[in-house]
């Protein structure tokens, strides 16, 4: 009986995780190395990978900065009442609870070309929805809780006393942050960065709704895979999927390493 369960567990693991990876890998090489290279060097592939790259970099930068700041304010700020803090704290998790597609839809409804704000921006010459800014916003929305949730528990655990000690020794907040707080939270931040990169690399739903999926304009790697599959261009879809999967595996390894360091400190 026990043996059966063990076998079953490994079977589920293999079907769910290993089989797709193997399939992507063999699928990408079906037409040999040339097919793989062709799939990646198509103009729309290069453009899509570039878009994904831009989104990942900008989203990670913004999320890291504001995620750490929000975590600091939510944990340390005394001028926020405890009730307001609790409210903010639960709102932070909203993107985790809401489907990404709905997140994207909200952005279209607020900032789309037919809305007041959207047309205002359009008049100023800035397109938000069906353009890069909207895609960045959508990805920001989806990934925002990650950094806050990684950093907050670390801040709570180390407590405010070290920072208070620094203040009685004459250090002001900037110096205290870099010399006292940062060394304690940095592995949490790195872990958050890795998770944010992984999540924004793979974001599909919210981006699809906001971008309109226009080839060579607002197409990301994931939405290109989707389109390739729709067009029965399976080799190309597998090729790009393989690139994304390779990145993810690399990130996973990095994550394991960061997690270990986080525990040490």
């Amino acid at each position: 009986m026990r043996r059966l369960w063990i076998t079953l567990t490994y079977l589920v693991f293999a079907i769910l995780l290993i089989a797709p990876l193997v399939k992507i890998f063999t699928g990408a090489w079906k037409d040999g190395i040339d097919g793989f290279i062709d799939a990646l060097t198509r103009p729309q592939s290069l453009h899509a990978l570039m878009m994904t790259g831009i989104i990942v970099v900008i989203v990670t930068l913004i999320n890291t900065l504001f995620g750490v700041m929000l975590a600091l304010y939510l944990v340390r700020a005394q001028w926020l009442g405890p009730k307001l803090k609790r409210l903010l704290n639960s709102i932070v998790d909203l993107p985790f609870a809401v489907s990404p597609v709905i997140g994207g839809l909200m952005i279209v409804l607020i900032l789309g070309p037919n809305t007041v704000i959207g047309s205002l921006f359009e008049d100023a010459g800035v397109k938000i929805v069906y353009a890069l800014p909207g895609m960045i916003l959508a990805t920001l929305f989806v990934t925002f809780p990650i950094m806050v949730r990684e950093v907050m528990p670390v801040l709570q655990e180390i407590g405010a006393q070290q920072e208070e000690a620094a203040s009685t020794l004459g250090a002001y907040s900037w110096y205290t942050f870099w010399k006292v707080t940062w060394p304690s939270i940095r592995w949490g931040v790195i872990y958050g960065v890795v998770l944010t990169v992984a999540r924004s690399l793979g974001e599909f739903g919210a981006v699809l709704v906001v971008s309109g999926n226009i080839m060579n304009k607002t197409q990301t790697a994931t939405t290109l895979v989707y389109q390739d599959v729709e067009n029965f261009n399976v080799v190309a879809a597998n090729g790009i999927a393989l690139v994304l999967a390779a990145f993810s595996v690399g990130l996973l390894l990095l994550m394991e390493w960061a997690k270990k360091r986080k525990e040490v400190h």
Binding site: G159, Q161, Q162, E164, A165, A166, S167, T168, L169, G170, A171, Y172, Y175, K179, V180, P183, S184, H265
Partner: protein, 354 residues
């Protein structure tokens, strides 16, 4: 540094943590803030440090009101209950922190840090991290770190609470000596009366946010001003009906007068052992407890329970044994007043005429 505190109040929401506290502290004194946990001692300390803002009242250092100064500008050193050492820094960097902030030169920092490391007996540990040190060593680091920028006032929050009992006494003596040597005005918080009595020049008793009494340990012990102080300092037996005890029959001048009796106010002996037999009353031993260096004896005089100590050198009493008890004095109090009354029979024994 001369410290003046006037009508200090602190509210946390509905909770009135500190109520109308006023006191003066002379330069160079070592003060103990003593009281039960949750009584507002730490809040007072944190307000002095600037880590908490008073709801009302003034804090004056050297004749200058410092309420609006941030902790960085107050020139104080603070030793936290759990030391709050910077855990990713070595002992050297921890002690040097306050000096680096003040932009001292490398040479000056090195000199000062090495001096303090030597002073606190941490030589050879400069390159260790806090987690590689024992509790006592961590406390010394916290002490050295607080002293490094040469503060005018040192504040210590329960400095010995996290250290095991055996090293605690040792560290207590060490800290007192160290503070005397440095000559810095210091205030420490404790809930341990023995600690306060042993270390402090002066004790302030804080209860429910109020300053109950301020004075030297001996003063407070001898002349407690409030029933709380009387019951908090030393262990006392609480007596509802003082008139049942011999010599104090007329003590309850006003109704509702109650008494506290310290163990050392009571003398016990086997019948005939006490010379002043006319002032004694009979009692029964209820229990005896061995307390390391003496016996603690629980007595019953009628319905009244008393606690006292008896030397190990004297004959051991047994539960149920009848003894004589002489009550030297009692601390009496009612709603309006409190006073100490000596046993009149003891002072004025029955004269014998031949």
């Amino acid at each position: 540094m001369h410290i003046e505190v006037r009508n200090l109040n602190k509210n946390f929401g509905d909770f009135h943590a500190v109520r109308d506290v006023s006191f003066d502290i002379e330069k160079g004194k070592l003060i103990g803030l003593l009281g039960p946990s949750g009584g507002g001692k730490t809040s007072i300390l944190r307000m002095l440090a600037g880590l908490e803002t008073p709801s009302s009242g003034d804090i004056v250092f050297h004749g200058k009101r410092v309420n609006d100064l941030p902790p960085q500008e107050r020139g104080i050193g603070f030793v936290f209950q759990n030391y709050a050492l910077f855990k990713h820094m070595t002992v050297y960097d921890n002690v040097a922190f306050g000096l680096k902030v003040k932009k001292h030169t490398k040479e000056q920092i090195r000199e000062r840090v090495m001096y303090l490391v030597e002073l606190t007996g941490l030589k050879g540990f400069e390159h260790r991290y806090p987690h590689q040190l024992s509790g006592g060593q961590r406390q010394r680091v916290a002490f050295a770190r607080a002293l490094a920028p040469e503060p005018q006032l040192l504040l210590l929050d329960e400095p010995f609470a996290a250290i095991d009992a055996k090293i605690r006494t040792e560290l207590r003596t060490w800290l007192k000596e160290m503070i005397e040597r440095v000559g810095i005005t210091s205030i420490f918080v404790t809930h341990d009366q023995e600690e306060a009595i042993e270390v402090a020049d002066e004790i302030m008793i804080i209860n429910k946010g109020r300053l109950e009494q301020k004075g030297s340990p001996w003063d407070i012990y001898k002349n407690p001003e409030t029933p709380f102080v009387a019951s908090f300092i030393g262990e006392s037996s609480f007596i509802d009906d003082i008139s049942s005890l011999k010599g104090f029959e007329s003590a309850a001048v006003q109704p509702d007068t109650k008494a506290l009796i310290r163990p050392e106010y009571i003398e016990i002996g086997k019948p005939g052992e006490i010379k002043l037999a006319s002032a004694t009353m009979p009692a029964v031993v209820k229990h005896i407890h061995f307390r390391g260096s003496e016996w603690m004896v629980e007595l019953a005089v009628g319905d009244t329970k008393l606690i006292t100590y008896r030397s190990l050198e004297k004959e051991v009493l047994k539960p149920g044994e009848a003894v004589s008890v002489l009550l030297h004095r009692a601390y009496l109090f009612n709603d309006q007043d409190s006073w100490i009354m000596e046993n009149p029979l003891k002072v004025d024994p029955m004269p014998i005429h031949i």
